[in-house]
Symmetry: C2
Subunit: 536 residues, 2 copies
Amino acid sequence: MELLDVVIVGAGLSGLTTARELLKRNAYLKILILEGKARIGGRTVTLSLPAAKGEDSWDLGGQWVGRTQTHILDLIQELGLEIYPQYTEGKKVYRLGGPEAEIRTYTSSIPPLSLMGLIDMQLLLWKIDKLRKTVSVEIPGSSPNALEYDSMTLHSFIKKNTWTQEVRAAMELSCRSVFGMETSQLSFLYFLMYGAAAGGFLALLEATAGSAQEYKVKGGTQQLSEILADRVGRQNIRLSSAVTAIHQDSGIVEVRTESEAFKCKSVIVTSPPHLASKIHYQPPLPVERESLTQNMPMGHMMKFIVTYPTTFWRENGFSGEIVTQPSSECPFSVTYDATSTSGNPALVGFIAGAQAADWCHRELEDRRDAVIQTLTKFLGPEASNYIHYAEKDWAKEQYSGGCPVNIMVPGMITYFHPSLRRPCGRIHWAGTETATLWCGYLSGAVQSGQRVALEVLGQLSPECLSQEEKEWARKSLAFPVPHRDWKIATGSSSFSAYLLLSTAALGAALLWVHPWFSQVLIERGLSILQKTYMMQ
Amino acid sequence: MELLDVVIVGAGLSGLTTARELLKRNAYLKILILEGKARIGGRTVTLSLPAAKGEDSWDLGGQWVGRTQTHILDLIQELGLEIYPQYTEGKKVYRLGGPEAEIRTYTSSIPPLSLMGLIDMQLLLWKIDKLRKTVSVEIPGSSPNALEYDSMTLHSFIKKNTWTQEVRAAMELSCRSVFGMETSQLSFLYFLMYGAAAGGFLALLEATAGSAQEYKVKGGTQQLSEILADRVGRQNIRLSSAVTAIHQDSGIVEVRTESEAFKCKSVIVTSPPHLASKIHYQPPLPVERESLTQNMPMGHMMKFIVTYPTTFWRENGFSGEIVTQPSSECPFSVTYDATSTSGNPALVGFIAGAQAADWCHRELEDRRDAVIQTLTKFLGPEASNYIHYAEKDWAKEQYSGGCPVNIMVPGMITYFHPSLRRPCGRIHWAGTETATLWCGYLSGAVQSGQRVALEVLGQLSPECLSQEEKEWARKSLAFPVPHRDWKIATGSSSFSAYLLLSTAALGAALLWVHPWFSQVLIERGLSILQKTYMMQ
């Protein structure tokens, strides 16, 4: 069996970037990419759909890029592709509540809330932004109050820091659209870290300058992977070859699929963490790594494209952007204009989070009819006159298992985050989840591929690295574990003086109404009372 | 290839109970148990250790049973084993804070807190108990306020409902001891459900009548699995045969290990959920099932046994029970007397949750010395004169991956809990995590095995079931999905009248200090103000 230099698990944007970077630096490296799917591109896929002027291409996976996403923009330029702006002219549509709720329109970035809602929203966004700026994306466990923010869900933070139902609902909508998850599922510290990696929470939501939905790639994003695959060499990529086991000893790694085995010096796993955890490792991975990947569930998103004969919504004064509370009648959270550069009119939308769990079991025809009927309500009767409806449920794609990103649940970052990028022997980790800039996005996938390539070159082929890069590779492997302080204050909290009076009264009442409790107190007797008062 | 009736994945207490139940009802069933470990017993293991009177047996895994755990007690009786009470006479030791904190002793169930701490604790326990009684273990998503309680961590609930640091620390200790997890990692609804399945939260913590730590099994709990294995027939059990893939079509299931494949009519997976999710299923499991098992991390516990020449702690007036805040000097959370029925003195203790993550990387000698030194401080200088120190890190046992139980993280129960027991075609699910009585305990493992056996017999061999059992099996498969209400109130919350005044003032201030905000407001103009006031 030939000894390979590097086996890369996953032929998505991250894995292909890794291979390209490795070969750019050292064309003699023997590299093999193993991919579970029958196609390349990971969480990007571009399909040809019937449209106004015949067939045209649309992205059913990751599609947007923004001007601050330098890693992906540089790659787009290098590969000779073009970007064009997301269409945003005209009124946006907003609806909270069920089908009978009022439909509002607006043109700014902030949804049309009540006056109190606007104030509530603004104060919440300031709070989030202030906290976000204190978070280290590299070592989030070292951020101020990391343990406390990692111990609560995003839901708990929002509930505590808002007072209007409309802002809470708006935040649920935003969370669903960004993560394909409910606010109850995310660690608040993870949410802050994700926002920090993007340069701000609003950047995740908007289509304005520097935001996540600013530009699209002409011809679709899967082209990035296709061109990279050509440059890496198709003969070095095996499709329909899901990795089932990775065995390593001190000298060599064996990577197995159901039917084959490959030997190599280093292996780079670029799969989403929850899929990486399905591989059987020998020896087993460290406890922290296992704990981490057991706590990074993937979001659930279904994406749909509806092609139309005309951009009737533009004529009716709409941008095509709809943000709506899902309901039993409306499956989606958000839509945008998706008209192609060739002028083929289309809308794109997302069924996300809990409503994806609700709607994914129905027939495609049911979802399609519900989507079309809701579009009719929002944008005008012309919405019913569509050419084609296409959709993709990413949770049903076995070697993605969801979309867009694996999040972190509460209580993980402060204990296990360092395992996210720390290599386990000869196994290295990449994928957009490991990125520190635009984690969860195409740009993060590229950044992670570049990072891991340097990491592996530092070990296999250090002569290809500059002194500065060697230093960087060395440093990038050092993940300090945040200091854990087990000490706690054993006394009462700061407003104890006030509480002492009220609790003394309450205690007396309890003694009177609850014999068991009084028994416990009497058992401890005066000594406890004495100690307590001495502690105050 | 022979067609088997049932393949059972896992030769722990749950899998062996399942096999025994199936064969009891129909001795002609062809059954095969596949076990990843080189031994049977799952999360129970009984080892022979050097002791005062030569060798004796101790449990390094699950060891306690209680009088309300009828499933395990009936099995113990059926298999001819004996139980004996946990020794609890004498003073218990309690310490919050680091090594320099005061060591207190007590004899009741409630730890020696300050007066305010006692009141705080009692009020919290009442609240938890009141809520616990409202929770349905079978369908927790249908409980009152299920969505809200599932959207917060146990940490958030405790923080909101206590005011003393000592009660918060005591609850962290309890959580660590029961789940091997931190309060930040559990859904509060899951915590309530777990308590409800045990008949109360205090029952999880205590060694009193009806509690989880009431009795021990003479000779150790692994005997249960050994005797069951004899009755099932050792020839029907394959050790070191981890299942890697399960492929099913409408008629048949193929269960694969790394080197073999077996065909059967039904397969029962009794592995912990996070390990069940590492099996490759074809066709893939439903999205909800995948989402659930991605959100059920396993606790982390290390258990140690220290054998001694004498029960010196008893002579010093101690019960052997220590409850302590872990620190950089003290690795453990809790210890108990572990003297055997043959009179061999010993103590048992647990290194759990975050401190297990801290301490599991050190050398065994370091941990041992730290344990012994801490015991000396608490129980007397005689503690340093030990015979043998043995320990087991369950997280490092590949086909357990932790101990004692897979918990549920926030936001899962309300969406995905019905997938916990719902069969996927010919795949059925068991294991203590699926139990409705004493979930997470030995008793729950037995209950789950009995339940799944009836479930499978209902399909393969209904003639072996009574009419009542057939009805039960049919019903036990119906897991209604809780109704999801997408509607929300779009107005402001109840204290809006009060807030309107203060926010109006704040709004004016904001308009003045933040030009962008005023621009947004002006854009919306009077129409928003008008709408807002009409909504009040």
